[in-house]
Symmetry: C2
Subunit: 296 residues, 2 copies
């Protein structure tokens, strides 16, 4: 193969390094703690967690590269017949201390089977505790630029995919303002790898921008309480719907690495209804599919 | 039928009333707020929530009695062919303010189809933030007494069922010290109803005993932090494994009534390991299946 699997995982490992450096630089206090783990069936990973930084209350930037035999039930779930697999990826969730800074998630992943069949997946999505239309527009514009460099069709297609994927059905609301999401992309491997790498490289400049922009915004008890409720919804999405989480827990992945996505603290208030006309209500009303954040 | 479905739901409604009274009396401050809701397909319920009492931080005591057409996918899941159903039940989860008072869950339910086929289900299980062997023994003894009044086989069978059901597979730990759990019990309807009613009536004396016993136990920051982590595990169980929760969310039940089981606040700390020899470690080590709480 022109692009060996090891080249993909090596690039993803570099991506983890550069993202951790950028987040530590912008945070100014928090440092990532690294846990190196091995998978009994083959491969392993580097879990990196930051806790109680200046801006980041809890953040995980995980790399893994695993290989071995595909279990029977996974072959069924993936609808593939091959037995040997290789999978590598970077997964990030950042929960900031301040409710004025958004939660963010990024993932890039690559999967390959013994017959050379492969696919890429990934995405970036933003979950502001308070939606700011200007920020949302800026965020989606950055995603569109990266998409457009690779295909005119990517942004619309992957934006819609994110709306559909990051959706909390039992609440009838989206997790946040979405972003892009894609899975099982296959075709010209080098081109797809270049796109996925660009998505990964977009993460640090985008999120450090939001950290910088909002780290000193004032807030009080009301905003902290609201943040807990928004985080509660984040927990609901991740434990009830997120495929990566379910897949990981079902296949006895490393639980602590998978559940690093859960916030340090979250809350639930029975039948909470935001005050009419409040910023909390404004945010709730915008958690719908199909928002055109580029033209608002 | 000798025992009409309406008689079961009427008894369950009374049970909700008497439990709410007992909890309010022992709490001394908190009052239940009632929401009456209707199910578009038939029937409805009374959701009762207490918040910020003296002892109970958040508690739900829910009654519902619903009927109508069984959706296709539910018929498949239940492996039944009948189209019309009636279901009624009482569901309780109490999260106390103090980490020294245990979390408790109780459920009794009855399901009937148009051909008269029916079953009962239910159970009580206790999730102490700190396991006290004497309390655990007393709790299981009370459950055994109720079981023994109806069948010599019930306690052992339903205790094991609870161990297997209230199990957080990805943590390899039980939710708490278990209790009893049973589902799809069928046979002599009056006898089963009498057993299930006894289980329901055991709830108030058992839990008000724990409230009384531990409401004034001293605790500090360390115990509150530990409580948040234990509640995090409770959230994981309910959102990842609990069949009632999944069934409710999948069938577009009333989300706020279903998710009343989630605590006001919960927490997650990456790779938390309790201090060796601490009460937190002692509790963690006891979260295993097959503990004989009656003979320790």
């Amino acid at each position: 193969m022109a692009l060996p699997a090891e080249a993909v995982s090596a690039r993803f490992r570099e991506l983890q390094d550069s993202i951790c450096r950028a987040l530590e630089d912008e945070d100014g206090k928090g440092k990532f703690h690294e846990d190196i783990w091995e998978r009994p069936g083959g491969g392993g990973g580097r879990t990196r967690i930051m806790r109680h930084g200046n801006v980041i209350e809890k953040g995980g930037v995980n790399f893994s590269a695993v290989h071995g035999e595909l279990p029977e039930n996974i072959r069924g779930a993936l609808n593939v017949q091959q037995h040997k697999f290789f999978a590598t990826g970077v997964s990030i969730v950042i929960h900031p201390e301040s409710p004025m800074v958004p939660i963010i998630h990024m993932n890039v992943r690559y999967f390959e089977m013994e017959n050379g069949q492969f696919w890429f997946g990934g995405g970036i999505d933003l979950t502001p505790h308070y939606i700011d239309e200007k920020d949302a527009g800026w965020f989606h514009q950055r995603l569109k630029e990266v998409c457009d460099r690779h295909s005119n069709e990517y942004y619309d297609r992957f934006k819609k995919w994110a709306d559909d994927y990051f959706f909390i059905k039992h609440r009838n609301e989206t997790r946040g303002i979405g972003g892009i999401f894609f899975d099982r992309l296959t075709g010209e491997k080098e081109k797809l790898f270049s796109f996925v790498t660009d998505v990964g490289e977009l993460f640090a400049p985008v999120y450090t921008n939001f950290m910088r922009l909002h780290r000193d915004d004032p807030y009080g008890e009301k905003e902290k309480s609201w943040q807990l409720l928004r985080r509660g919804r984040y927990v609901e999405f991740n434990l009830v719907y997120d495929k990566g989480t379910k897949f990981g827990l079902d296949t006895s992945g490393r639980t602590e690495s998978i559940l690093m996505s859960l916030p340090e603290k979250a809350g639930w208030e029975y039948d909470f209804v935001p005050v009419k006309g409040s910023p909390e209500e404004k945010t709730t009303l915008a958690l719908v599919k199909g928002m055109d954040w580029l033209n608002r």
